[in-house]
């Protein structure tokens, strides 16, 4: 954990983990005995409304596309060969629900070859129908442009990582420049968008330039790689409060997803290995590669990490990740890091009031009056917070909570407020 330095006259500067120019290969996690794939669709447990197409005992092959309901577009791509052992509901944070498809892994791996028939012609339809689940996570707005009010005119490839201690995207930039180059070509061809920009750290400029996209440099200090700040600093366009980058016609894709896209078309098979960092209890970070759907338990046992009661397991980095409640939680296509913290080292929040120390003011990249905002949020005055103190300008970097002397969970308050206001506005719209 990065502690406040003795000299705290200036605001702390936390830099992203910079990858070496010749990084070692990521450590490979063995194929698990059982994998779990999370389908982004609520599971109808009793089969009352819809009848599931997948059931226990169905055989699946590696790379096979699995859909649960006939009339639905949502699918996952199996990362292993074996038989379906269970389909069950699964709940994520902020009330999101998934259908979890568990697969018992067979000894011999068989590859599903259906995708290879589509490789010749990289169209948007192919990407949409086969590659929404590739490692690195392809955002759905890329292949469903008709849902947007403003058409996408710019694609930004993140050759930088979203959070501290993560190197997955940088690794793709350095080691998979050919796949990225192919991926960029496919993106151009499939979407018809010519303006593709690669955001990269300065020391990786040369590797990033091989992609064929226009390279722009991102500052090495957190939180410069968050989409809103990339928009402001690299594209010179400020996202209005409450809007997101897509509303301005800019889509963000991770470098790993572009590399996966290129690999899929190069090899005729959908990639199933996801790269991510394991951040151990001592704070060291190791890049690993594992099949999507591997339970985190397998990753900890590979590294001989003992997981104790009351420890904290985080999917994502230390500033923006999400903690999970079970060792069975699977690696997902957008999992950039898995962090484990010992229960002795946890920085816990408190219910102390804001003492107005002002530490959050200079550190906020969005220049929000956090001290005033948190006073309103604590007493559930969400609408006033949005109207008067720029709730929607927040880009959710977490730095205010990081420096808070009173240890108020500020970012949690902010996200809760946004979520509640969103629910209220949906309720109002549907009541009309």
């Amino acid at each position: 954990m990065i502690k406040r330095s003795f000299f705290a006259l200036t605001k702390p500067r936390m830099t992203y983990q910079a990858i070496e120019l010749t990084p070692p290969e990521p450590k490979k996690i063995p194929t698990p005995k059982q994998a779990m794939l999370l389908l982004n669709e609520p599971y109808d447990s009793f089969g009352q409304k819809k009848s599931a197409q997948l059931k226990k005992g169905d055989p699946v092959k590696t790379g096979q596309k699995l859909t649960l309901y006939e009339d639905s577009d949502a699918y996952v791509v199996s990362s292993v060969t074996g038989t379906v052992s269970a389909v069950s509901p699964f709940f994520g944070d902020f009330g999101r629900s998934y259908a979890a498809i568990s697969v018992d892994v067979a000894e011999n791996e068989e590859m599903d070859e259906q995708f290879s028939a589509f490789v010749k012609e990289p169209t948007l339809e192919t990407v949409k129908n086969w590659l929404a689940f590739i490692p690195g996570n392809l955002p759905s707005i890329i292949f469903s442009p008709d849902q947007l009010s403003t058409p996408i005119d710019t694609i930004v490839i993140c050759g930088v990582d979203r959070d501290l201690l993560i190197t997955a995207n940088q690794h793709s930039v350095v080691k998979e420049s050919n796949a990225i180059k192919r991926g960029v070509q496919i993106l151009r061809q499939a979407t018809g968008i010519d303006n593709i920009i690669m955001a990269s750290h300065e020391h990786l400029m040369q590797d990033a330039a091989l992609s064929g996209a226009e390279v722009r440099v991102v500052d090495p200090a957190y939180p410069a790689s968050l989409p809103h700040l990339i928009m402001r600093d690299l594209l010179g366009r400020v996202v209005p409060a409450g809007k997101n980058c897509e509303d301005l016609g800019v889509a963000f894709i991770s470098a790993e997803a572009v590399a996966s896209l290129g690999k899929a078309f190069n090899e005729g098979r959908i990639p199933v290995y996801k790269r991510f960092n394991v951040i151990k209890k001592d704070g060291t970070s190791v890049l690993v590669s594992a099949r999507v759907g591997t339970p985190v338990r397998e990753i900890f046992s590979t590294f001989d990490i003992t997981v104790n009661e009351k420890d904290r397991i985080v999917f994502g980095g230390p500033m923006t990740g999400a903690s999970i409640y079970s060792e069975n939680h699977p690696i997902q296509p957008d999992t950039d890091a898995i962090m484990i913290q010992d229960h002795k080292d946890l920085a816990l929040v408190s219910d102390y009031p804001c003492i107005n120390c002002g530490d959050c003011i200079p550190i906020c990249p969005a220049k929000i009056q956090v001290n005033m905002l948190v006073r309103l949020l604590e007493v559930v005055k969400y609408q006033e917070a949005a109207d008067e103190y720029d709730l929607y300008s927040c880009i959710e970097c977490g730095l205010c909570s990081f420096v808070c002397v009173s240890r108020i969970p500020i970012l949690q308050y902010i996200k809760l407020a946004k979520c509640e206001l969103g629910r209220i506005s949906i309720a109002e719209e549907t009541n009309v």
Binding site: M1, R4, F7, A8, L9, P12, H228, V238, P240, A241, G242, V307, N308, E309, K310, R312, I313, V314, G316, P318, M319, T320, G321, S323, I324, S326, H343, L346, A347, L348, V349, Y352, P353, C354, I355, N356, C357, G358, D359, I361, P362, P365, A366, K367, Q369, N371, D390, S393, I395, G398, L399, S401, F402, V403, C404, V405, S406, P409, L411, Q412
Partner: protein
């Protein structure tokens, strides 16, 4: 079914820089030590008694209020002890016990707790306490009278009182270097200028106070005093004298910088500090009181909510 381990789940971020309210309070207490210890050596056991009583009674008032209001005890954060210590630093060493206890009652209960405790007070609690006791029993704050039994090798006239009552020629005995080294009469912890400056620099380096407020306060005092001095050198003292006497230095580093009652944005901090500095000299030079720091900072506290509205435009704000 295997035994499921229970993990800690919470919201991002999962790191914290380790700062805390208690560390902040104790750092401020640490920074006062040079000045307080100097006061102990100068004024002896009476000073020790006043400081000890002030700190302990402030903590006791806070604890009593916690009990009455049925809240969890907040004395562990060190804020009450800090209020008691700063209050004692402003008092003369001969203050009677009831004055100290009344003062800390006003500071902790009236100045802080009735507004909801730490972070909620619109005025600096120490100064609220001091203002009330000064106005109520002003004879106990006539430093010339209450410190009359102390006899040192340097003049024991209270510098600001000499200036107020006898004019500029009466202060020719006070040399800046001597004032800086604490050779003057005044509050227990307010006379040792060098110690206060060292403590202030320590707090600024550690990030416990906002340097903008201290610097602009001192600049406000210095510039305003200089302007008066230039207008009429025979009537108004020079800026250095004003910087080194009375409560100016303790005000700049320990009182004006109180978290809850001061602004947090850059430009408002400069306005707030400069305003308090200017008011200090206005009160000293043309006002009724001998020292203006207490009321100047309280008035600046009053304008704090307004000036803190001057803020940078948030990212993506649509006007």
């Amino acid at each position: 079914m295997f035994e499921q381990k229970k993990f800690t789940v919470s919201h991002a971020p999962f790191w914290h820089n380790g700062s805390s309210v208690s560390a902040r309070s104790y750092n401020i207490i640490l920074a006062t030590l040079p000045a307080v210890l100097f006061g102990f050596f100068t004024y002896g056991m009476p000073a020790v008694g006043v400081v000890a009583l002030s700190v302990s009674s402030a903590v006791a008032w806070e604890f009593a209020y916690n009990k009455i209001s049925k809240r969890s005890p907040s004395i562990g954060d060190g804020n009450a002890a800090m209020i008691g210590l700063l209050f004692a630093m402003l008092l003369p060493a001969t203050s009677p016990w009831w004055l100290v206890v009344t003062g800390t009652f006003v500071a902790v209960i009236v100045g802080k707790q009735i507004y909801g405790g730490i972070g909620g007070n619109p005025f600096n609690p120490v100064l609220v306490g001091l203002a009330i006791v000064t106005l109520s029993w002003k004879d106990f704050f006539d430093f010339n009278e209450v410190l009359v039994n102390y006899d040192f090798s340097y003049p024991m006239a209270y510098p600001l009182a000499s200036l107020k009552h006898f004019g500029v020629f009466a202060i020719s005995d006070f040399k800046p270097a001597a004032l800086l080294m604490g050779q003057q009469s005044g509050g227990i912890g307010a006379v040792f200028g060098l110690g206060l400056i060292l403590g202030g620099i320590y707090l600024i380096i550690r990030g416990c106070i906002r340097w903008e407020i201290s610097v602009s306060f001192l600049a406000g005092v210095w510039v305003t005093a200089l302007l008066f001095n230039m207008a009429d050198p025979a009537k108004y003292a020079g800026p250095t004298f004003h910087l080194l006497t009375g409560y100016t230095l303790i005000g700049a580093f320990f009182l004006a910088t109180e978290d809850s009652s001061s602004p947090v944005n850059f430009i408002p901090m400069l306005i707030y500090g400069a305003f308090a500095g200017i008011m200090t000299i206005l009160i000293r030079n043309i006002g009724a009181y001998v020292d203006g720091v207490v009321f100047a900072i309280l008035i600046a506290n009053l304008i704090n909510p307004l000036v803190d509205k001057i803020r940078p435009k948030a990212l993506g704000k649509v006007v």
